[in-house]
């Protein structure tokens, strides 16, 4: 068996797979956008896909996976033909691209399993090459008059930029140069802003140096854009910060009718037979340990700032030199701002919105449901929740498995659903929510559900339950037994009896668990819950008896100032009225056992609500809202159960994070106070 080339010895397998995973992710995102685009392929998505596949080719070649590199090379050729207009954007082309991506993903999976240079599916490259060969030669957009460019800029255009220029003209877009004169010390910011504005308003065809300006402290750039013919360019120019706008002759002509591009007989590669794109890098992959160190060091820095502030305060209190005192205060204020900004930026590197994970699930639903002959809608709630990237990665496979299971076994075929009086399309719903120190993913389908008796029978048939064993208390738990499957046939997706046991085992490694509930004929719900390693929670920060406490805003209804005259005692409890209903009141500090007991209630009331429970907690002050990183406290650290974790605040203070549900359930013992239950 052939060994992978020397390159792979230098390139760590883990790094290779991580890089490949990211590139496939980018590619699938771009294909999804192209799939939604309809008639015309958005240039940005085609380019993103081209860049990703170009990188796949380079990475595979470097690691010595010659077959994979060859397939990526062919796919790159197809994408180059697509972006250069030599083949049309169509469902068929996208299917070829999607199949090639799956072939690459399959090869990556086999590399992960240890194969040195995996075989690719038969005919994978041939299908790509046939698609390219069926395209046109030359530049489809070249028909008609080309806009006239100044000769110096004309020489600078790459093939791709020239193609986009012609394409814009062909579509009747108005072509214009925007000239920018930007300060040397911040030109990158201004240039980025202008490029974004041009891309938003139309299409950025190219960016060119503008030569020496009159002012040596400024740099000149020229952006070439293609804009809708009716778009006022003065607005674009003003938002982009351009000093001059020049409209090019030859642009803005009547758009050609669809299909006016002449069909040409055969594909002829570019001048040197290679794609003309110059690779650009937009992201850098950094090992998570390095990010963790960065985040932790910024936390340390925040503490040092706090210590410095305290010491500086003492020193400045006795300083007599007013000028020096002012300078020191100003220097500290600058440091304070920078450390706060650095802290936020560092934290952002560790977190990803859950929707990055759910987007993958969405793609699986989109590609798998039609292949099973099913119609399925997939709704996600709570995708904006941000969790630690490591956790998101670890959760991907278990959740993918549950989704595949629901599609394959849970949701019925349209005819079966209609016969059962259900809508043709099945519904899959994913709710993501934080629960105290955990994050929960609840995936529900409205499919056929599972019958406990049938599961027990199946388990006995397969020998997973001996004839002498009694029926389990919860028959649904049988689905997590190794080797269990109710599928009558083995498909590529499931039915091999390998799966939910592995899902549970993998979740157990994360100290999490999965539970299942089901109603025959109505559907099945899987609930995955894992403790958070890190979680970014939007929180209301309050002070209570001098302590910072953070309440997740998801559990806070509102805050108001109580009128002491409207607070009355009912039995053991204090009550006020809020929104026309009685609201039990508690001192947050006293309830948690912080500060001095018996102190009069503060007047600021935070109304905490979860499900039917609602109560008001008085606090000394409300400090504002912050996205805080909640670090769960280890179970071995004794404390009240409402305290789920701790968070370092941007100013260097520490806050204890409080779970709203647990706070309410401890303050409102069941049945003790009817006013706290809606």
């Amino acid at each position: 068996m052939k060994r992978a080339g020397r390159g792979f010895e230098a390139l760590d397998r883990k790094d290779f797979l991580a890089e490949m995973d990211g590139l496939l992710e980018e590619s699938r995102d771009a294909v999804a956008l192209l799939g939604k685009a309809g008639g015309e392929a958005p240039a940005g998505s085609v380019n993103a896909l081209f860049r990703a596949i170009h990188s796949v080719k380079g990475l595979s070649a470097m690691a010595g996976f010659s077959r994979l590199a060859g397939l990526a090379h062919d796919l790159e050729g197809l994408l180059d033909a697509l972006r250069m207009g030599r083949i049309d954007h169509s469902t068929e082309v996208l299917e070829v691209v999607a199949a090639a991506l799956e072939a690459i993903a399959g090869a990556a999976a086999r590399i992960e399993a240890g194969e040195p240079d995996p075989q690719l599916p038969h005919g994978a490259s041939e299908r790509i090459l046939r698609t390219v060969a069926a395209g046109r030669s030359g530049d489809a957009a070249a028909a008609g008059d080309a806009p006239r460019l100044p000769p110096d800029l004309d020489r600078m255009l790459t093939d791709y930029e020239r193609h986009r220029l012609l394409e814009c003209a062909r579509r009747g877009r108005r072509l214009a140069f925007l000239t920018l004169e930007l300060p040397l010390d911040s030109f990158d910011e201004g240039l980025r802003k202008a490029m974004d504005e041009v891309s938003r308003s139309g299409e950025l065809v190219g960016t060119f140096p503008g030569g020496a300006g009159k002012d040596p402290s400024r740099m000149v750039f020229r952006l070439l854009g293609g804009f809708p013919a009716d778009l006022p360019l003065d607005g674009v120019s003003s938002r982009a910060g351009a000093s001059v706008v020049e409209v090019l002759e030859g642009g803005g002509r009547e758009p050609e009718a669809p299909g006016a591009v002449p069909e040409l007989p055969a594909f002829v590669p570019g001048r040197d037979g290679r794609p003309s794109f110059r690779p650009m890098g937009g992201t850098v992959r950094v090992p998570l340990e390095k990010l963790a160190l960065l985040v932790n060091l910024t936390g340390e820095l925040a503490f040092s700032r706090w210590a410095l502030k305290r010491s500086l305060g003492k020193v400045l209190a006795t300083a007599t030199d007013r000028a020096a005192r002012f300078e020191a205060q100003k220097a500290f204020a600058d440091l304070d701002r920078t450390v706060t900004a650095l802290g936020r930026a560092a934290l952002a590197t560790r977190f990803v919105p859950v929707e990055q994970l759910t987007a993958r699930l969405s793609r699986v639903v989109g590609s798998m449901a039609p292949s099973l002959g099913k119609e399925v809608t997939f709704d996600v709630f709570g995708g904006e929740t941000e969790i630690d990237k490591v956790l998101a990665e670890e959760l991907t496979d278990p959740l993918l498995h549950i989704v595949r299971n629901a599609l394959d076994h849970g949701i019925e075929l349209p005819a079966e659903r209609e016969a059962a009086g259900k809508p043709r399309a099945g519904r899959l719903t994913l709710v993501v929510e934080t629960r105290g120190r955990s994050v929960a993913f609840t995936l529900a389908d409205d499919g056929r559900g599972m019958e406990g008796e049938r599961l027990v029978r199946r388990a006995r048939e397969k020998g997973l339950l001996s004839p002498f064993e009694p029926d389990p208390v919860d028959p649904l738990d049988l689905v997590f037994l190794p080797g269990f499957s109710t599928a009558q046939t083995v498909s590529a997706i499931s039915g091999r009896g390998v799966g939910l046991d592995v899902v549970r085992a993998n979740l157990a490694k994360l100290k999490g668990d999965v539970r299942v509930t089901s109603t025959p004929g109505k559907g099945t719900t899987f609930e995955v819950q894992v403790p958070m390693t890190l979680v970014l929670v939007e929180s209301l920060l309050v002070r209570a008896e001098g302590f910072f406490l953070a309440l997740p805003t998801s559990g806070v209804r509102r805050a108001f100032r109580a009128d002491p005259a409207r607070v009355e005692r009912r039995g053991e409890s204090l009550v006020t009225e809020d929104e026309g209903e009685p609201l039990p009141l508690f001192s947050l500090a006293a309830h948690l056992g912080l500060g001095s007991p018996g102190k009069a209630l503060d007047e600021t009331v935070v109304v905490v609500e979860q499900g039917p429970l609602r109560a008001g907690f008085t606090v000394s002050s409300i400090e504002g809202m912050e996205d805080v990183i909640v670090k769960p406290l280890a179970d071995v650290i004794p404390r009240s159960r409402e305290v789920t974790g701790a968070a370092e605040l941007p100013g260097g203070s520490l806050a204890l994070t409080i779970d709203a549900g647990l706070l309410l359930s401890s303050a409102l013992p069941r049945g003790a106070f009817a006013g706290g239950v809606r």
């Binding site: 503490f303 670090k631 650290i637 004794p638 404390r639 305290v643 520490l654």
Partner: protein, 142 residues
């Protein structure tokens, strides 16, 4: 280390006592910064603090071992944390004194407070009481 050099111990002071903790159970030491009291924790717990980005429970050695008045009874400054290896706890002590190699041949006496007191251990001041992590954490979990 010479053959008879014994084992290294982190020597720290709490109240009027000197204590030694085997260094292989110590990850490091740091000046204590913000320690936030934890509602519902026993009195031996000073609270929670962050060390290198991770929250650690802080056990007050003075209270856990019942060492009487401490050097911390005044302003809460000058305190140190002994960060334990592989534990989610740090120990709050008054002062880190040194790392000493304590000879295994030094006489070992039973201490009335529990633990072992080594006579002949280096350093000035009161006799050194050798404590284990389990002993101190056990004090905090009483």
């Amino acid at each position: 280390m010479s053959p008879n050099a014994g084992s290294p111990y982190l020597v720290f002071r709490v109240g009027g006592g000197r204590f030694g903790l085997a260094v292989d159970r110590v990850q490091g030491a740091a000046r204590a910064r913000q320690i936030v009291p934890l509602p519902g924790s026993p009195p031996e717990y000073a609270g929670v603090t962050f060390v290198r980005g991770e929250p650690l429970g802080v056990l007050d050695v003075a209270r856990a071992l019942g060492c009487g008045p401490t050097e911390r009874d005044g302003e809460r400054t000058g305190q140190f944390l002994v960060i334990l290896e592989g534990e989610r706890h740090a120990l709050l002590v008054d002062r880190i004194e040194s790392v000493e190699e304590i000879s295994d041949e030094a006489g070992v006496l039973a201490s009335p407070e529990g633990g072992n007191v080594r006579e002949g251990a280096p350093g000035d001041g009161p006799a050194l009481r050798i404590v284990t992590v389990e002993e101190v954490l056990g004090g905090g979990k009483r």
